[in-house]
């Protein structure tokens, strides 16, 4: 990992996983986001591990930062020159890669969408055929978070609850927030909820939490669309002397896990990006080698991780934490 990061930190990187000899080795090209985000590192690991296990070849390309959309398009064009059997795509936005993916579709290359980053309607209008989407859709993730929060607050479902979404306009953060609010409103129609954008940033989320406490000193719970924001909120609450507010994040990053272990963050809805990468390669290989018909949406599983689950290991999913 360290090596990959070294290269990637200096710009775009193309990494070749161990190659299995043989003329008919399947080749998968992964077009991912930035290794500066641990989520994509875990994804890369999953892809590479599965490729090695199954004897297929995986080439992973990454970009310098979350906004490097054009660089990602260039990576995609370059990847096509290798004539891969499939592209595994974590698109920076739903539009930028479409010209490249259209060419891939025309050449009969299978396309896997990671984490619902492609908008299916837009993609199909552009003539792109997505073989399957792997990961968890944001609204279901938000709903899982809402179920957990409701369980914790069962004695008093009046709120108030703070919902932190990501950067304004980011569909993943918005979908997670919406999923949370919709399910929460189903369970407790009268619960008070406020939604603000934490911009995926720790410090900003800490500020918002402080501001919200001015208005709602009786804050009961915070649901954040990722762990970074949840951790910012947690530290702000602890600094304000409040250790009984439920805080739930999304992802399962290593710092979130450490925080949960030490009793600070309440829980996270684990997304197991390692498993998303691994399952993508496994499913693709089934499709090519066994000619299996695949469902268009492949849920790779998510589960709420709490201190007690980490202590007693009662959820086997935690083995996929990275």
């Amino acid at each position: 990992m360290k090596n990959h990061l070294t290269i990637a930190a200096l710009g775009a990187a193309v990494i070749v996983a161990p190659v299995t000899a043989g003329a008919e080795t399947l080749l998968y090209g992964a077009i991912l986001k930035t290794p500066a985000n641990p989520h994509w590192n875990a994804m890369t690991q999953g892809i590479e591990d599965a490729a090695e296990e199954l004897g297929v070849e995986a080439v992973v390309s990454t970009v310098a930062n979350e906004g490097a959309a054009e660089q990602q398009l260039n990576n995609c064009e370059t990847m096509l020159l290798r004539e891969p059997d499939a592209l595994i795509v974590g698109a920076i936005n739903s539009n930028i890669l479409l010209p490249c993916l259209k060419r891939a579709s025309d050449q009969g290359i299978a396309i896997v969408d990671l984490d619902y980053n492609l908008d299916r309607t837009i993609a199909e209008d552009a003539g792109v055929t997505v073989t399957f989407t792997a990961g968890n859709d944001g609204e279901s993730t938000g709903a899982v978070g809402a179920d957990f929060v409701a369980e914790q607050l069962v004695d008093d479902l009046s709120g108030p609850v703070l919902v932190l979404e990501g950067l304004p306009g980011n569909p993943v953060g918005a979908a997670r927030g919406k999923g949370f609010r919709d399910r929460m409103a189903e369970i407790a129609p009268d619960i008070g909820m406020t939604t603000l954008n934490g911009d995926w940033d720790r410090g900003k989320s800490a500020n918002i939490t402080n501001d919200t406490l001015q208005r709602n000193p009786d804050l009961k719970a915070v649901f954040a669309a990722n762990d970074t924001m949840a951790l910012g909120a947690t530290e702000a609450l602890l600094a304000a002397g409040l250790d009984n507010v439920i805080v739930v994040g999304v992802d399962g990053t290593s710092d979130a896990i450490q925080s949960i272990k030490s009793g600070r963050l309440t829980a996270t809805v684990g997304q197991f990006p390692y498993l998303v990468g691994k399952r993508s390669v496994e499913l693709l290989t089934e499709k090519f080698q066994d000619h299996t018909e695949l469902d268009s949406y492949q849920s790779t599983g998510q589960s709420v991780i709490t201190q007690s689950i980490l202590e007693d290991g009662s959820d086997e999913m935690i083995q996929y934490l990275r």
């Binding site: 590192n41 304004p168 603000l196 720790r202 500020n207 919200t212 001015q214 600094a239």
Partner: protein, 329 residues
């Protein structure tokens, strides 16, 4: 925008008069802040409470400390685009010292400051002796400092700091958050440095007229190195408080904070092309941004509006300044 021959009044009236003119507080920013406070107090009953005022100063402290450093740089007719990245780099270095290396926690403090000042010193060295424009040098450092922060942490936040270090970010002696105290103390010290030391006066002199300053015998190069090192040092301090506050050295912290710091300084009346700057003005500029964010959060207004309103205030503040100047003439 400046006088036709900026060096002329300096020679005629001497340095003291120059300083009176160039470091006078512009009232426009104070009026904008007062208006905002009035509007927010009317709109939200939670706004004008002592707890919320501390809260605003705490939320403003990171951008405010960065903006104070930026005020020296911009006042000297320079620019520093690297402070957001340096802040993340310094925070990561400090967190690693405290959490991974098993060293005493307090070493994180000099580690953050030294890491920041070192990066700033490199900026200054290349600007002063390399003849490379500051925009380019600090744009490069923005990438390098961020990249190094990601590299040494493997892209993962350094989590789990010692309690004593966390206190620097989360502690509240007498109810006042420590970073807010740090912000105020930094502002007071650097206000005196800017107005009452040779270093401070020369900073504005070279910002006003570099050639004139050279002719006067001002050591322009060594001064520039010190100015950028100071900007790095304040970025290191901001990195220290942020890291302690969120209990993690986050290599992705401080994204775009350099622009927020420049915005705060300009709203506060710092002349974008140098020669005029006040620390009090910058503090007010940072508070305007903090009050806007806090008020809109209290009213639960989406952050699209925060971006729009800060953009409008930035342009309006500079425009008001121009109008006032024309009125005087």
């Amino acid at each position: 925008m400046t006088d036709a021959n900026p060096a002329a009044p300096m020679r005629a009236q001497g340095l003291a008069a120059f300083m009176r003119e160039k470091s006078a507080l512009r009232l426009e920013s104070l009026i904008v802040l007062a208006l905002l406070v009035a509007v927010m107090s009317y709109a939200s009953p939670y706004f004008l409470t002592l707890a919320n005022i501390f809260n605003i100063v705490l939320a403003t402290s990171t951008i405010g400390i960065l903006a104070i450093g930026a005020t020296f740089v911009i006042g000297s007719a320079g620019i520093d685009l690297s402070v957001g990245s340096i802040m993340a780099f310094a925070g990561v270095v400090g967190a690693m010292v405290a959490a991974h290396l098993g060293l005493p926690w307090w070493l994180a403090v000099p580690a953050c400051l030294a890491a920041g000042a070192f990066a700033g010193w490199i900026n200054g060295l290349i600007v002063a002796y390399g003849g490379v424009p500051a925009f380019v040098v600090t744009l490069g450092m923005m990438g390098v400092a961020r990249g190094v922060a990601l590299l040494i942490t493997d892209g993962q936040a350094v989590y789990g700091l010692p309690e004593a270090l966390i206190w620097l970010g989360q502690g509240r002696p007498f109810g006042i958050p420590v970073p807010a105290i740090g912000f105020i103390v930094t502002a007071i010290i650097l206000h005196f440095v800017l107005t009452h030391t040779r270093f401070g006066r020369h900073t504005l002199v070279i910002g006003d007229n570099e050639h004139g300053a050279m002719a006067m015998g001002v050591p322009v190069r060594s001064l520039r190195i010190k100015i950028y090192a100071l900007s790095g040092l304040t970025a290191g301090l901001a990195g220290l408080f942020t890291m302690a506050r969120v209990n993690a050295g986050d290599p992705t912290a401080g994204m775009n904070f350099e622009l927020a710091a420049i915005t705060a300084s300009i709203i506060g009346g710092t002349h974008l092309f140098g020669g005029r700057a006040t620390i009090l003005g910058t503090v007010i500029g940072a508070l305007i941004m903090g009050v806007l964010q806090n008020g809109l959060n209290l009213l639960a207004i989406p952050s699209f509006w925060q971006q729009i309103s800060i953009g409008i205030v930035l342009v309006a503040a500079v425009w008001l300044d121009q109008l006032a100047k024309r009125g005087v003439e």
